[in-house]
């Protein structure tokens, strides 16, 4: 009998599921990729076959044109959709089941089963309710492979309603200006818009051109974002008193000169730390994250209660320390290519 868990091998460029010769979130092209969600540090183009939720596959198609034909008119990439709660059998007698991770549209934790052993790869996740994707489910397992993006005890994300109130108060106080919210194009932007709607803000919201396609994709998947308009189609005066959403990179860019005296906001978990906000010249920091905060990370480990916890990326030192203090077996995987871009 082989040693326990010898069928799974963490490598710097992905987690190798040996009997199936499949890789979870590989950072280099492979024959068979199991992808947790559409963020660039987890989903990349160039794989032979991608197993992911239909929403994640649609996002990858939009970003990498994975469904494009080659010169011979064939589609070389094979997309294998798996719904939440559905299982797929991979070669080598490995079962893969996808569960909601609550991170962004289509995000999944992947449960891998082989020889009676259970391993869960979370990709990225959060525990809070999010109107744009189903909520995280606790999946019991032997090895729990978790992220640790906000793995420091100082990170506690406030309730999102508080942050929305901050944004709307500032907007109301400056009816001649606009609030420009920097938010990542996949996930954060749509969540901010959906939460604004939930908070009762029904005015048109203006988008940077780079946001449009992803918002439309969310709408096609049943997420109601209300009336969206493109900044490029409107004048300064149209946008007074409005919320404008752009990628973070455009916040201090020439592009923002077309806006009516924008108040610069940024929606990110890093906004918890003042220097981080100042570095981006942010006037209105909004602490909004699509990742688990410290309390959620540690609570999740307790609830899943695995034999061993593996930590993929983020502030793994602190989470390792917590595991040690709580007599839990844990190890940090030295993964490369995972960034905190999608915070």
């Amino acid at each position: 009998m082989p040693a326990p868990f010898s069928w799974i091998r963490p490598e710097p460029w992905g987690i190798h599921v040996v009997p199936a010769d499949a890789w979870v979130d590989p950072s280099r092209p492979v024959e068979r990729a199991l992808v947790t969600h559409g963020h660039a540090d987890h989903a990349r183009g160039g794989h032979g076959q991608t197993v992911a939720t239909p929403e994640t596959l649609a996002i990858m198609e939009l970003r990498y044109r994975t469904g494009a034909q080659d010169e011979a008119g064939e589609i070389p990439h094979k997309a294998v959709p798996v719904e939440y709660g559905e299982s797929i059998t991979l070669p080598g007698d490995v079962q893969a089941t996808y569960f909601p991770a609550g991170h962004v549209l289509g995000s999944a934790q992947i449960l891998l089963e082989h020889a009676g052993e259970r391993i869960v790869c979370t990709g990225d996740y959060k525990r809070r309710a999010d109107p744009t994707c189903p909520q995280f489910e606790v999946v019991p397992c032997d090895i729990f492979i978790t992220e640790a993006t906000f793995g420091l005890p100082l990170f506690t994300h406030p309730p999102i309603a508080e942050e929305m109130a901050k944004l709307l108060d500032r907007l109301a106080a400056h009816p001649d200006r606009c609030v420009l919210v920097g938010a990542y194009a996949l996930g954060k932007a749509q969540r901010v818009i959906a939460e604004l709607r939930a908070a009762g803000h029904h005015d048109p919201i203006y988008l940077h051109g780079a946001m449009e396609k992803m918002c439309r994709l969310y709408e096609e998947h049943g997420v109601d974002l209300g009336e969206l308009r493109l900044v490029s189609d409107h004048t300064k005066d149209d946008m007074r008193g409005s919320v404008v959403v752009s990628p973070p990179g455009a916040l201090n860019d020439r592009w923002s000169r077309r806006l009516p005296e924008p108040i610069t906001a940024m929606a990110s978990g890093w906004m918890r730390v003042r220097q981080r906000a100042r570095q981006r010249n942010v006037e209105l920091p909004l602490i909004i994250s699509d990742h688990a905060d410290w309390g959620e990370l540690t609570r999740t480990i307790e609830e899943v209660d695995p034999v061993e916890t593996w930590i993929t990326h983020g502030r793994e030192d602190a989470l390792l320390r917590w595991c040690q203090l709580h007599q839990r077996r844990a190890r940090a995987l030295a993964m490369v290519g995972y960034e905190d871009e999608d915070d």
């Binding site: 420091l152 005890p153 100082l154 918890r272 730390v273 003042r274 220097q275 906000a277 100042r278 570095q279 010249n281 942010v282 006037e283 209105l284 920091p285 502030r315 030192d317 602190a318 320390r321 917590w322 203090l325």
Partner: protein, 535 residues
């Protein structure tokens, strides 16, 4: 405390100077005494509570949070007070928050032992923003890009009084400044300064540039290369102040018992030596050492006997503001000069001499004298209108400074970067800027150049410490400072450049001198630098 915490947060996230002024002024108008006075003190000169140190906060937290997790968090945030404010385990039902006045009173009552019991109780009453504001206030360094001058300007703006007048009273009053608010906000009589040895703001000079003055109306004096000081005696106490109004009495104890009557005198602090003033065998003036020798004595809290013997200090007098309690400031310069000359007989020549007037036939002759002055340590000439009263600040047409080397400007340190090689652990590459207008009217600093030479290893250590202690922002290897330090920058020439936002580029800039004593709003403007373009 909530309003104060909200103000601090708003200031942290505000870049515009005008907006900062508006926020502080609004707070000062809306907040009752004594809270606003304590807030003003915290924002300007800072408050000092000896029982609360950074190490106190660290120790408190290490009792409540795992030390490894504390260190990892502290390293990530880069600021002890902020890390503590975020990690403090708040009670489920916090008692009501204190006012600023109450918090100050409690902090004042703490000693090194009780602080470990009482500070936690205070922290328990605040949310994360409140804890941040409290800890910043308690440890004395807000470091939120608000200078003392800016806070005073905001005060003046809030109550529509002049900032010079605020400066005049400021140095004689203590937080929470009830007399200052009573005067400015309630319209009561101004505070009485007569029996207090307080700093009076200096009268300053404009750069001469292209102006030509008529020597029938103006008198010329050497501009000595020491530091400008004010020696004040009132109520049987003598104090020595630097240009920025800092009390430097302890650094020069030999000057504290040589002024035998009440007076306020303006002069150049020098140490004895053979350089300055020795030229032309002038018997009216003793020699002084180079600025370097004086520098050895600056910034020390205590002075050794040896140093007092080797480099004794004296004051070369320029002007008299008050003598025997009589305020001379409204009198013309000629009249003040007469009084000052008459005064010399009453002063010991071991510690005082008179800065002599430079005689010239006309302006061209004066230019000749200026060019010909070989003494390295003469900075140039001062031109003072004979009928000028002594007025705080820089007034057009009254006083001019005519620096000998035209290619020297005063710039403000903005960014610092680590050096390379053996300097790699020091912030040794400096970017500095000049004002794009009047700094008191909302001008911003624009970078004009970079330098990494012109200072000694000792000075490098001090600069490195300054950068680390005054960082407001980090960009990779670069730190942005709170823009509180002036460099006198020497350079070969200056040219127009599209590459820089200021539109200017300097050739071979180097740090000529570090002006620890000079307030930043007195640094040069971009226009001054533009006037030096020669191509």
């Amino acid at each position: 405390m909530e309003e104060f915490a909200a103000l601090i947060d708003a200031l942290v996230y505000t870049r515009s100077r005008n907006e900062k002024l508006r926020l502080i002024a609004e707070y000062l108008r809306a907040t009752p005494d004594p809270d606003r006075g304590w807030a003003l003190a915290a924002l300007s000169d800072g408050l000092d509570f000896p029982a609360v140190k950074s190490s106190t906060i660290r120790n408190l937290l290490k009792d409540r949070v795992d030390p490894v997790l504390w260190t990892l968090s502290r390293d990530f945030v880069g600021d002890t007070a902020e890390t503590a404010s975020l990690l403090w385990p708040a009670p489920e039902h916090p008692p009501s928050p204190p006012t600023v006045g109450e918090a100050v009173e409690l902090l004042e009552g703490m000693n090194r032992k009780s602080v470990f019991v009482d500070l936690p109780k205070l922290l328990d009453r605040l949310d994360a923003s409140g804890r941040y504001a409290l800890l910043k206030l308690a440890t004395g360094g807000m470091r939120i890009g608000v200078s003392s001058r800016l806070a005073k300007t905001a005060f003046a703006q809030a109550f529509d009084v002049s900032v010079e007048e605020v400066e005049e009273y400021w140095h004689g009053l203590a937080p929470p400044f009830p007399e200052l608010f009573a005067w400015a906000a309630e319209g009561q009589a101004p505070p009485d300064m007569a029996n207090l040895p307080t700093f009076r703001p200096f009268m300053l000079a404009h750069p001469l540039e292209e102006t030509v003055v008529d020597l029938a109306d103006y008198v010329a004096e050497w501009k000595w290369d020491g530091i400008r000081v004010q020696l004040v005696r009132a109520g049987d106490e003598t104090k020595l102040f630097s240009r920025s109004g800092d009390d430097i009495s302890a650094t020069f104890p030999e000057l504290l018992d040589v002024l035998p009557f009440p007076a306020v005198l303006d002069g150049e602090l020098l140490v004895r030596g053979s350089h300055q003033g020795g030229e032309a065998n002038d018997v009216t003036q003793g020699g002084a050492a180079s600025f370097n020798a004086l520098q050895q004595r600056l910034g020390r809290k205590t002075v050794s006997k040896k140093m007092l013997a080797e480099a004794p200090a004296f004051v070369r007098l320029y002007d008299a503001l008050l003598i025997d309690g009589e305020d001379l400031r409204a009198l013309p310069w000629t009249e003040r000069r007469k009084r000052l000359e008459a005064l010399m007989a009453r002063l010991p020549d071991t510690h005082f001499d008179l800065s002599r007037v430079v005689e010239a036939r006309d302006f061209d002759h004066l230019a000749e004298i200026r060019e010909g002055s070989r003494d390295d340590a003469i900075e140039g000439l001062m031109l003072k209108r004979k009928d000028s009263p002594y007025i705080a600040g820089r007034r057009v047409r009254y006083w001019y400074k005519w620096k000998r080397d035209p290619l020297l400007v005063d710039c403000v340190l903005m960014y610092a970067q680590r050096g390379s090689g053996k300097r790699s652990s020091f912030y040794s590459d400096y970017t500095f800027g000049c004002w794009d207008g009047d700094p008191d009217k909302g001008a911003e600093l624009l970078p004009v150049g970079k330098a990494y030479s012109g200072f000694t290893d000792e000075e490098l250590k001090k600069l490195d410490r300054h950068v680390r202690q005054n960082t407001v922002n980090r960009f990779g290897p670069v730190r942005e400072t709170d823009k509180s330090l002036v460099f006198e920058v020497a350079f070969d020439s200056v040219h127009e450049s599209k590459r820089h936002k200021s539109g200017l580029a300097m050739r071979f800039p180097r740090i000529h001198r570090i002006r620890w004593d000079k307030p930043v709003h007195e640094a040069d403007r971009i226009e001054a630098l533009k006037a030096l373009i020669r191509d």
